[in-house]
Structures are given as structure tokens and as C-alpha cells.
Symmetry: D2
Subunit: 336 residues, 4 copies
Amino acid sequence: MIKVAILGATGYTALELLKILLRHPEVEIVAATSRQEGSPPVSSVHPSLFGRIDLALEDLSPEEVGRRAACVFSCLPHCASAEIIPRVLAAGAKVVDFSADYRLDDPATYLEWYGHQHPDPSRLGQTAYGLPELFRDQIRSADLVANPGCYSTSAIVPLAPLVKSGWFELDDIIIDSKSGVSGAGRQPKMMTHFPECNESMSAYNVGRHRHTPEIEQVIARWAGVAPRVIFTPQLAPMDRGILSTIYIKPRRVVSDAEVLGLLRDAYAGERFVRVVDHLPGTKDTVDTNFCDVTARVVRGRVLLISCLDNLVKGAAGAAVQNFNCLFGLPESTGML
Amino acid sequence: MIKVAILGATGYTALELLKILLRHPEVEIVAATSRQEGSPPVSSVHPSLFGRIDLALEDLSPEEVGRRAACVFSCLPHCASAEIIPRVLAAGAKVVDFSADYRLDDPATYLEWYGHQHPDPSRLGQTAYGLPELFRDQIRSADLVANPGCYSTSAIVPLAPLVKSGWFELDDIIIDSKSGVSGAGRQPKMMTHFPECNESMSAYNVGRHRHTPEIEQVIARWAGVAPRVIFTPQLAPMDRGILSTIYIKPRRVVSDAEVLGLLRDAYAGERFVRVVDHLPGTKDTVDTNFCDVTARVVRGRVLLISCLDNLVKGAAGAAVQNFNCLFGLPESTGML
Amino acid sequence: MIKVAILGATGYTALELLKILLRHPEVEIVAATSRQEGSPPVSSVHPSLFGRIDLALEDLSPEEVGRRAACVFSCLPHCASAEIIPRVLAAGAKVVDFSADYRLDDPATYLEWYGHQHPDPSRLGQTAYGLPELFRDQIRSADLVANPGCYSTSAIVPLAPLVKSGWFELDDIIIDSKSGVSGAGRQPKMMTHFPECNESMSAYNVGRHRHTPEIEQVIARWAGVAPRVIFTPQLAPMDRGILSTIYIKPRRVVSDAEVLGLLRDAYAGERFVRVVDHLPGTKDTVDTNFCDVTARVVRGRVLLISCLDNLVKGAAGAAVQNFNCLFGLPESTGML
Amino acid sequence: MIKVAILGATGYTALELLKILLRHPEVEIVAATSRQEGSPPVSSVHPSLFGRIDLALEDLSPEEVGRRAACVFSCLPHCASAEIIPRVLAAGAKVVDFSADYRLDDPATYLEWYGHQHPDPSRLGQTAYGLPELFRDQIRSADLVANPGCYSTSAIVPLAPLVKSGWFELDDIIIDSKSGVSGAGRQPKMMTHFPECNESMSAYNVGRHRHTPEIEQVIARWAGVAPRVIFTPQLAPMDRGILSTIYIKPRRVVSDAEVLGLLRDAYAGERFVRVVDHLPGTKDTVDTNFCDVTARVVRGRVLLISCLDNLVKGAAGAAVQNFNCLFGLPESTGML
């Protein structure tokens, strides 16, 4: 059994992670941290885990966590994560970081989008980006994996094969995404107060969402040039799920079959990317680690449609997939 | 035109009140108060009113509000309301109070259920209870009306004719109510955070909800004795609406037709109580001032089922109906 | 009082129309048709109208309807509508048609998108398109008005001022729309079965939705050339509301202020189009006849965001606005 | 590996069953039946299973199914189930029946509540009732298990220990239940059409729901006398989950602690019944096989509150738990 720990275990991604780990045959959860006083049981903040986990929320030092566990999942917010992770790594544990702290290669980009100096800049550009379907080799040999943003995965998975093909313009990629409310976290605020967001759709952070540079950076790895991405996040009145509708312009006439062929070739053998002919709905992927994608040519543009569960393939499921990579287990262990 | 003002205009009941008043042919809204700084426009906190109302949120004294308006609607929380209303009344305005402060007759009961001394005890027992279908005469001659609790109206409307009939036991009345989330107000908190309460049903404040003594007090007026009410509030994943299922035991065998007859006789001529044969859903009453009720005899017990919109008949609609009573207007003015 | 009738009164748009008309001070509803047997009361299919309308659903001839009413609202499905409307017009009534039958100018386009020969082709190209903000003059002098599609209004309102400006490319307009489920009508089907569409987002009719040629045709009136529109309709888990996110490419560098200025200039004085600075949510417009629009420049593209209630500004509210135009009433009569 | 088959595999309970079985370490799914033509893949009707199951929907005879599988799960509707199950049993398979056909002991009660003669009356009264927490011994030695109704489990689990205690009146048990919409099945109909039931709560089948005699029969086993149950099912706007609020009258004064003690004693060691101190919400149990229960004494009555997922502990999870019993496996196999 591989000993694992969770930093910042009170939010939704941590809850989802706990649920997956409890089913994982090779894992023993040895610690879950929180700054709450008095070491309350995990189930006191996650009543759905009542009777399923016998663990207290502890306020532990990073060193202690790193000593206890072979792998540490950090569900801390960005900035806090990069302050603690170096100490966890130094204690000998591997780390999967849910925050954005190690996703970007360039400290200047981090400063621009996150508004503060990166606490651990030397690891930027050195950290594996945790999309195993695309960066499996780097992940396998890593100590630290940056788990991708939920929107980013929904965009990069369908876009990657098209970008690699060279058939498409990269200066006018439009990503129109709709997310369930759990993506906004567990802290109550007006925007996510039930009577405000229920029965409503609205855009937010238009042109300013922090997953934009992350998507552009990953695309640029294959593109050679800096792509130009317009990314519009929107809040949908549902718990979970992201539907991304992506518009990209081909350099020549293409057919549905050709584009679907690119996707199928790229993801043949991948367990968690399903290239489908029908138009998928987010519900097809909820509570699973699947990302469903399809494509249509409409009036000369290509539409890519992708769905995933923002808490699973967009967070905790991807993290466990990365964990499986890090420890040489079959990637789907614990997730089918 | 009758000049009206709203105290505490940033919440959901105030928004609903504004929407109704904007359509009311005899009303001019002259003030809306809030402690926000800088007198922002009402539409800055209620974007649905953008372009519909040209009024700023002002931090006004009760005296100033009472001077400007002939009728003041207080949407302040309990306790705050009873501290301010005497000053508004003294300034010459009539008042409809949305809070619980003037609903109970007895300061000791208030202290027991609300946990503090009543700031204006002399008006308790003297204040009209704002259910015009039952207390129209008192309301018409009042200066101050206590707008009923939303659950209370959903329970009292169907129960009143049965209690008056003398056919029923009063020591074992069970009220099982389900409410939309707007009933919990506009302040974000964990219980009403979308991913917590969406797709879930749960009970809260079992045996301790403050509408219990209010319901009992009103029933006692006809019963002669103190009834015993078990009231269970439950949160349903929807914006608005209350469904109350009430179980009451007859002293003799009764039929559906007899009980429906009691209801029909009591509410013949009432515009806003609809006695129906079918099983009503809350959606039938949403955005209206109607309370729909029906009855069934099941295994010797009588079931009463009632629906209403907690923000309209359960709050702002009732308040305007009371206002219409206070000023001698047809009760449905502005609400059909 | 102007006598009005409704053809096909059992669906959601008819219900919404009835609700608005019941509040309209100049209207008397004299007939509501349906092929149901036995002339049941309207409230038997619309329980929310119980006690509010004393009218039966009748199976009347178009001639009879046209004789009884000065204005007839047709909520019949496309094709059925164009078979009946000529007979209603011949009987002397004016008509507002909710269906798509008179929206397109060209019978060939109709055949292509609707799959059958138009039953009344001579009126195509002669019929007023019912967007008063843009085509008020034609509507005022018309006998027949084609009420626009709900998605079409959400797209055309924000696009029109930009297209007229001449500043934008018209061969690459992307309209990504999200609609509540009531837009799919009242006939139960798998796609709109609660457990299928609740908690899910999905695209449908990609590249094939019938509002596409309608949007293109209206834009072409100002553009001179045929625009190329990519329109993606998506189903959101809510009752009502459309959020359209529109991507259009300027021919030169533009600012947020310039684009908002185009919108504000175009709709100055319009009661039902609100140009706002904030990002509007569909809930801001639900149950109202407003269309809220805003704009943002993102990486050289212009984003337009619009919201409306598909059953009001997208259907019944627009119809009453058209009715008010047809009969020389202030356009907002009955709708504020 | 134990070979299993599913009869009637296109609905929601079958989908849930498939999801659980795919994770079950001791199970091989060898057949899934449906009357659909052309043997389409299971994933064509359940897109969430795309890539997860390689099985076609076949139109097989009961004998063929009984020969292929050691255990057959019947998700057929009542009546159809009892016509087919005897032939499956004769072919040598064990059966878990999701329908109501084998739940009642008495053919006359079946006729009264289901409206037709039972096709296989000799097995009534001989069939194990599939609530392992209460009838484990009978299930273990059975060939046929009647999986309980979803509401029934939510009522019987909390009631059983109280009834057994002898402390409570049994002639006045009130069960007020609220269910998610998936409980109504996958066939689209008006009541479950999204715009009808979303944002609404309503009661249905008041006094006539078929789980009533099932609950009474099970209670009578311990009570000695026939209890009198008033059961009110209500539809809540959510996919899954049942919240049952139960009111039962003690014969003497009892405390919260005593009633919770009865529950804790009864379910000590049970993996899937969680007796909790807090007020549980349905979301705590969604996607799990748990039934959460608590109790409160309110004004002399006892309130029991229970939650479960109608598709898991209320259907497919219970079925797999029964299967595990039938085949001597640990009861939680495949479900934690």
C-alpha cells in the first residue's frame, strides 16, 4: 500500500479525491490537513464520508506530512501551495499539486495573471504538466506534478491533436466554456449563493480567466508560435461538469471525418478520452474520469465539443491518474 | 399616488416588493434605505431592476423615512425592525413589517424563541396580523401590520377553517413544509451555497423553527385552547415556493367533500386563496399572490396541502395586500 | 378594449402570453383554441391560471377566430400556422405569428431548412419581422407580424448596431447560445425528460438549427452581402433564459467603449433593450421583456453578450410588444 | 467470476446496476436484454457507458438468460417481471427482482393495489424481502429476492427498531417522503418533463401509492397487529435522493437519546445504515448505498428522518447487496 496525504482537505476537490482514494486498491490515506482546531474527524466537514473514513483533520507541518506519506496531494489555494510544496518535497514525498502554482513555465506570466511573485520560481519550467494523455513520460519520472486546470483540460484535450496536425490557424481559437458551480469552490459567496446562480447562466472573468495562459502555453509547445486564445468561462446552474465549445479555423477544407480521425488517432488506446460521434452532454461524464470529445465542421470552421467532470477529470481524477503514473500503476487503477 | 418607502431594500423580499410596487397604479416609491455607503442606485444591488427604477439606496433616519412616505415597508431583520418602527410610526407613516417582531402577542414568547427582550413590548398583542383573509377588519383600521411568516401563511390558511369548525383534534397537528432557498435570505452561507443545497433535500431547525409559536398563537385564537403543532421545515433545491403537507386528526369520520367544503366556504370570494381539487404544485403559484389549497382524507386523517410563493404571498405580495387594506384600495390592486 | 384570440393555447408560449394579456389594460381575451375535445377550461391545462381566466379551450375554425378577435396570436407549430393564418387574415383580424412560417423571405430557404413547401409563399418577403426596436415602421402598418425566434432576437439585438457600423467582418460571426429547457416546448420527450437534461449541458442541432437562416437574413438587410453565421444552440438545466455569447471580428482596433457606444446609440430610448456595463445573467431578465446586452474586446475580437427570457422577449412579450405596435398603443403597455 | 444478466436494461435502475457491477470484482456481465431491434450496444442507450462495456442489448428468452447467468437481475416492470421470472428460475439461475411483483405476501393485496391477478401467486409469501439489514437469513438461502421499493426502504429502516421496541403506537404512523425525479423512471411524461417539475414541489398519489401496503406488511411482521400508515410521496426537483420524515407516537415519554439508542443498537455493525446525530441531507447519500437516519423528539412525537439514493440503496445498490448475500460474498463487495 502506498501512503498518501492530502493538504487542505476541506474543499470539494479534496472530498472527491478522498472518495476516489477510498476505492483505490493500492492506497492508504495517512493524513488529511486543515487549519481547523481540535482535530475534528474528516466526516465532520464531509458528512457523506461518515463511517467511511476514520481520520482526523490535522494541522501538520509540511515536513511531517512529507515524512508520513509517499505521495502528497495538495489541495491548497495557489500561492499557499508553492510555499509549502518545496518543504514537502524536501521531506521525501512526491507531490501532485491541484493549484495553479506549477502550471506555468514563466514567473513573469505567473506574476501577470496571479498578481504576486512566485514563491518557488526555480521549479517553473521544470514541472511535469499533469495531463498523462499528452505528457505521460515527463510525469512518470517526476517528483512534482502540476494538475491541470479544469477548463484547461477540457480545452487542451480536443485541441492538441488539431494543433499538432498543422492544419489549423492558431491565432483565432475561441473557447466558450460552461461550468458547474462546484468549480468555484466551497467558500460561500454571492455569485454562488443558490438563489443568485440557480436558474441562471452568466459569463464571468471574460478575457481575464487564469486558465487562458495555461492553455496557450501548452498549445505553444506544439505550435512553435504563441497562439491566441479567447476563452469565455460561464457559470451554469448545475453542480458539476464542463462543456467546452471550441471554434478553430482550418487552413484548408476539412471534413467531420478527417477531424474525428485526428482525434481518434491521437487517443487510440487512451482509457479516459472518448472520441464520440454523438454530441456528448456533461452528464455522460459526471462522476467519471472521462473526457468526451467530438467535432463538427460548420460553415468552414471546426467546432470541437468536450465534456468532463470538473471535480474528477478536471481535478481529483486527473490527480489520481497522475499518482498512478508516478508510482508505476496502471493509470486507471481505482477509477473504473 | 400614495408615497411609500422600503427599509432595508437589498434583500430578496425587498426586490420582490419593488417589482410589485413598480406595477402598482396607486404607488410612488420615494425612498429605499440601506446602510451601504455612497447612495448607490437600487439597480446596483438588484440588476434586474436596471432601467426600471430611478432611486438610490439611502442611509436615512427612521424619522426622515416616516416623513417622506405615507406607508413604510420594513424589510429589516427582527429586533432591528422593532427598534426603528416606533420612530417611523411617530413620524406619521403607517408600517407593514416583514420581520417577526410584531407577530407574537406575548413578550415572554418572543424572548423564548428569539432570544432577546422585545424592544417595543407595548405594541405586542395590539398589532394586526397581516393575513387579510382572516383578519381584514383589524388590518383596515391599523397603523402597523405584522406581515406573517411565509411558512405560517402556508399553514394557517388551510388550517383556519378546520380549526374553526370544531371537528378536529388540536393537540396533534403535524406541518411538514418544504421551502425554496430564497426563504433563507440573500446572505451567502454554507447551507445555501449552491453545491451544498442543490440536488439535495434536508430538514433544518426541527422542533425549533420560529414560525411554530406564530402558527400556534393564531390557531389558539379560534381554538380556545393552546394547540400543539409539530412543524418541520425542509429545504428544497429550488428558488421559491413552499409546499406544506399538514396532517390533522378529525374527531369524527369526515369525507374529502366535507373538508373541501369547509375550505370553499371559508374562502368563497377570496381572490388569493384557491381551493382546488387537484394536488397543486408550488410552480402553480410562483410569481403570484395565490395560496392554493386542497384536502384529502387518508386512513382517517385529513391531509391538507398548500402551496405559495414564499416571496409573494409569503412576503411581498401579502405586504402589498395589507397595504391595499390599510389604504382602502381593492386588495388585489397591482397584483393580478 | 381590443379583442384578442390565441390559436394553439396549450403550450408554454401561450401560457406566458395569457399571463401578460391578463394584465394588459386594453385587451379582452375572447378565444383560446385547441383541438382538445369537450371544451375544457383553459385552467385545466394551465393550473397556474386557475381562478384567473374564465375561458374554455375551443376547437374553432380560423374564420370564427378571425371574426371574434381584432388580433389573433398564433402559437401553432410551423407549417400548421401558415395553413391557417391566411384564413384568419381573410376574416379581418390582424395576426402575430409565433411560428417560423413568415420569418424567412425566400420560399426556397424555407424549403431547405423546414423540409416542406411553404403553404402561403406569396406573403414571404412581404411580412413584417417583429423586432420593433429594428423594424417598428413596417410593423405599425402591417396586418401580419412574424414574431422572431428566441435565439434570433438574442443574436440580432446585439449584432445589429455593429453590422450597421460597417466596422466588422461579416463572414465569421460565431453565436454560442445557451437556452433554458422551456424553449423546447411542452411536449415530453427524452431530451427534456428531467433526469436526462437536469444537471447537464449539451449542444444540439449543431450547424443545423433553423434560427440560423433567420439571423443571416436579418443581418444581410444591413450588410449588403450574405453574412456567414456559425450558430451553436445548447441546452442548459434551467426553465427559462437565453445567454448568447457572440464573437465578431472588427476590421480595425476597437475599444470596449466604442462598441458599448454603438450599442447605446442604437438603443437610446428603447424601453426593452438595456445596454449594461456589467456581465448580465439570464436571471436579470427572467419574467421580463428586457434584452440585456454588453460588449467586451478580448484579444482583438469583440464579444457580445446578451440575455433574455425565451418565453417573454423571445416569444410572448415580443408578441405583445408587436400587438401594441399594430394597434398604436405605447409599446410597453401591459409589460412593466 | 459469477455470471450475471440484466433483464430490461434500458432504464435508470439498470444503468445504475451496470455501473456498480462494472466495478464488482466477482462479477461478469454476460447479458443485457431489451426488446429493441438489431441488438444495439448497451452504450447506445446509456452514453455514459461508452467505452466501458462491450455488450449488446439482446432480445433473449428467459430460458436463455437463465442458462447463461448464475444470477439474473430483473429490471422489468411489475406484472411483466412475474411472468418471466418463473422461467428464469426454472432454467437454474437465482433472481433479484426490482419490481414489486414478489414483495407482497398476499395475492389479494396485490390485486387490490396493482389492479390485476398475480401471474405467479404461489411464490407470494415464500419470497425473501431484500432488506439484508433485517432479513439477511432468508435472503442467504433464497433463490429469488424481492428488492424493496425505494420509499419502503427509506421508511422501514428507521421504523423497524422502533416497532420492535414495543414503545410506539402503530395505528398512526405518518411518512412524508420527498423523492428525486429519477424515481419516476425513464419514460418521458408530462409530470417529469423538465419545465413542469423543475423548480416545483408537489405531492402525488396521496393515499394511493403502492409502497404503502409493502411498508405495512413488513411492519406487521414485528407488530403482530396491522399498523396504519399514512404515506405521502412528493416529487422534488432533483435527480436522485429520498428524504423521508416520519412521525410516530410513543406510548410513553422518550428522549432523543433513547430513540437514537434504539437505532444504534439495531444497526451496530451494519455497513450501510448510518445512524447520525446531525440532520442528514439526501446529498450525503447520493451515489452511495448508505441509508442515513436520525431521530428527534418534538412535542411528544418522535420524528425519524432518513435519506438514501433511490437508485442505489433504493434499487441497484440494494440489489447488489442482495446478490452478495445470495452468493456468500461480503455484503459490501463492489460498493465502497
